[in-house]
Amino acid sequence: MVADTLTGTDGIAAAGVGGAGTARRGRTRFLLRHLGTPAAIAAVLGVLYLWVHGLRLDSIERRTLNYTYMHDRVIEHLKLTVVATVIVIVIAIPLGVIISRPRARWVSPVVLALSNLGQAIPSLGLLVLLTIKFGIGFKIAMFGLVVYAVLPVLRNTMVGIQQVDPTLVEAARGMGMTRMQVLFSVELRLAVPVILAGLRTALVLTVGVATLATFVNAGGLGDMIVNGIKLSRHPVLITGSVLTCCIAFLVDWLGNLAEDVLRPRGLS
């Protein structure tokens, strides 16, 4: 009934918003942006395969450069990475939420300082210390990985929630949302991009650090790399390293994909 009062100035902003054409262009850009990495990974793996295939391998090299052995190492490596990441999510996100509460604001500088410090702790040193104290095995490797990856996720969860515009929280409270409703349907939703970025960092970090699991007898692609070095078998070393890199890129790509898909629509 007051529709006729829509002014010219308001109409301009309305005209700038695209229709179906923009959506299609957006999808094309999305595909182009996300197809590059898997294509490159496939190409690298193809070249690696052809190169190793063309080499005359001795018996030591043949013991590692075969499908079964490599398959097992890759699975071990992925398992280390995925399990560590799941544990990190379970620990770091709730903890990040807790320390983002106004009452715990004093903790945030501590977390920021720790997470900067964390990047500087040599991972090998940490693992050696853990081994001396607790022995070897999957659990020890896992512990080291989690300690390493928990900080970026913790930090980003905290920062992600703290950067939510306080007036949005006030508006939500003013409309009668409970604290929990505000947390889940406003704060966490708006923190998703930042939390995912932290998770992506943690994942890539974990893929790299998981190569050290070999030192605590927990397998993974580190086995190949260390064997290659110890026995001076370059093809083994190179294959182990390239596979690790490919996993890291793949994981980063998945993270990027998740960021694009899970980022709430409506955020610029």
């Binding site: 007051v2 829509l6 007036t167 939500a172 949302m177 409970t178 708006l190 409506g266």
Partner: protein, 334 residues
């Protein structure tokens, strides 16, 4: 929650006080106020005088240190804050639309909290978008960032009206828009309010806005002390003190002319009777209309008519009324 079967609910503040921790003087010092059902009351006062604090104690975003708030006779401090807020509309200057929700989802927040059915919510959203002058088909699935500031603020108003609350609290809702959009929003809002007759507390530091919108105005000074609480014309016509007069001084002369009625400035004894053949204006007319009549007829006086009684109103009377009402006093000079 509130019984508004008789068309609206009133708001009562009794000795309402807020003392922030670590501050010697209370931000709001024992304010008592009655707001009649269906009235739009504007709180006006300089920045920091306690307007926002007073308002937020009504929906308990700020807990009072002492005192009482009643809405429709019910003690607000006994209600669950979340329930209370779902039944009190709330609009803020920063608008606070959720950027990750569509316009429809934003408007549907409170109805959803109240457990309305999907179809009821959808119907309500379309109705409200129409009410605030936005085409539902065009806007409902957009995101806030795709709207201009003025459009966003309309959605903010629609969102506050969503569950049809009898009471609305509005904190400088049009403060962040440019003057043209603001005037536009004000006019639309007035039209809306004439129809809806909500009980509204509206905060602003802009005296002109207060005059334009308010059924009544509360002029506040430091500590949320009431300097004057009255109808706009009465505040313009008879400011309680220099502090209030200082505020009036900030509104332009022509605007004031359009707000003061002939009645307001007339001496109690009615003054001398007018000569015959003068143009006539009603005593309920504004001084601007009286001036218009003089200009149109090339006279310097008119006959102010109320029933059988006729008074003489001269150009000089009008000028004097404006001058005494609008003594150019600095707001701080009170």
């Amino acid at each position: 929650m509130f019984d508004n079967s008789d068309g609206g609910v009133g708001i009562e503040l009794r000795e309402l006080t807020k003392r922030y921790p670590g501050q010697s003087a209370p931000a709001v010092d024992a304010i008592s106020l009655d707001v009649a059902a269906g009235e739009l009351v504007v709180f006006v006062g300089p920045s920091g005088c306690g307007k926002t604090t007073t308002m937020k104690m009504i929906n308990r975003l700020i807990e009072p240190t002492s005192g009482e708030v009643r809405i429709g006779g019910e003690d607000v401090l006994r209600m669950r804050p979340d329930d209370l807020r779902r039944h009190v509309g709330y609009v803020i200057q920063q608008i606070g639309l959720f950027p990750h929700l569509t316009i429809a989802q934003n408007i549907g927040v409170v109805p959803k909290l109240l457990g309305w059915s999907k179809t009821r919510i959808t119907d309500r959203i379309d109705e409200l978008l129409g009410l605030v002058g936005l085409d539902a088909a065009q806007f409902r699935s957009r995101y806030p960032r795709q709207l201009s500031g003025g459009q966003q603020q309309r959605v903010g108003v629609a969102r506050a009206l969503a569950a049809d609350p009898p009471v609305m609290l509005m904190d400088e809702p049009f403060g962040a828009t440019d003057p043209i959009t603001r005037e536009h929003l004000q006019n639309e809002f007035l039209r809306l309010q004439r129809e809806l007759r909500k009980t509204i507390i509206f905060v602003t530091h802009d005296f002109e806005e207060a005059i334009r919108l308010g059924d009544r105005i509360v002029v506040l000074r430091e500590g949320s002390h009431i300097a004057q609480y009255d109808r706009p014309a009465r505040i313009l016509g008879a400011p309680a003190d220099d502090y209030v007069a200082g505020f009036i001084g900030t509104a332009s002369t022509l605007k004031r002319l359009a707000l003061i009625t002939v009645e307001d400035v007339f001496p109690a004894d009615g003054g001398p009777p007018p000569a015959a053949g003068l143009p006539e204006v009603d005593t309920a007319a504004t001084l601007r209309e009286a001036l218009d009549a003089m200009v149109a007829n090339g006279t310097e006086e008119v006959a102010a008519v109320s029933g059988d009684i006729r008074h003489r109103l001269t150009y000089h009377d009008v000028c004097q009324a404006i001058q005494t009402n609008g003594r150019e006093v600095e707001p701080s000079g009170g």
